[in-house]
Amino acid sequence: MSEPISALNHASYDGIASVKECGLQGMITLRGDLSDKLLDKAVKDATGQKAPGQREALVKGDTGVCWMSSDELLVLVPYAEVGAKLLAMTAALSGTHALAVNVSDARAVFSVSGSHARDVMGKLAPVDFSPQAFQPGQIRRTRLAQVAGAFWMDDADTFRVVCFRSAADYVFKLLKTAAQPGSEVGAYNR
């Protein structure tokens, strides 16, 4: 097997915020009954986290789980482990109606960080980015300008942004544009 390459191979840009493509992230789309104990256990075994509540993101670094909808989770594991974790999860869920599928290569992940990260995000998504409204621990699925995207926060100044792999180039250019020098909005850091 040759070396897997992420969509933009760690491209980065520094403007009013720092934008980086994070490289490959193991991701499993898990659909099922979120109240099912089997599913809960499978998530716990894979990530060490419980199944999240509505719009929760329980993530530490490259491992964790995000609530995607009432019957869908996004399970995050290190890229190298995704095959094994998926097998284990599929096995654990074999007795129940659920779908676990590897989507690691179908996505691109960016980090947007710095004191103006919220400004940058606020230019692209119709979301209230004030700290009162959005904080680490939450996930929001929405659109980034013209494509679908989702994000959560690693810490108070860092967003982790996920989009489809085919849109990675567009999203990176968008984030660069939104982070261009001189474009500070100052809406969230007075």
Partner: protein, 109 residues
């Protein structure tokens, strides 16, 4: 520029996150149905100036469909509710009655 609360994920989503899906609570007519029933099912949409029930999808979001009770004259939203129902729940009907006494829509009132 509407804002609708997605009953699935709880987000107050603005219109650009949503996709409109037309009239709610359609009864499907398949093979064996009469020409009239099939025609009405496909084309005879309710088009009221006032209380209306419709479907939306939180397309740029959790991806789920849901129902909305809305006024087409003022764009007032009476409530949103699950897509997995064949008729508006009582609390939605009550909320409409509080604002639009005497309303009717199809067989509902």
């Amino acid at each position: 520029m509407l804002i609708l609360r997605c009953p699935c994920c709880g987000v107050d989503a603005e219109e650009t996150e949503l996709a409109a899906g037309g009239e709610a609570h359609l009864k499907r007519f398949g093979p064996g149905s009469s020409d009239d029933d099939f025609h009405d099912y496909l084309f005879m949409r309710e088009n009221p100036k006032g209380v209306h029930f419709e479907r939306w999808r939180h397309a740029n979001g959790c991806g789920k469909w849901f129902h909305v009770a809305r006024c087409t004259r003022t764009l007032e939203v009476f409530g949103t509710y699950s897509a997995q129902t064949t008729e508006p729940p009582q609390e939605i009907k009550d909320a409409i009655t509080a604002k639009r006494p005497g309303w009717t829509w199809r067989e509902f009132s």
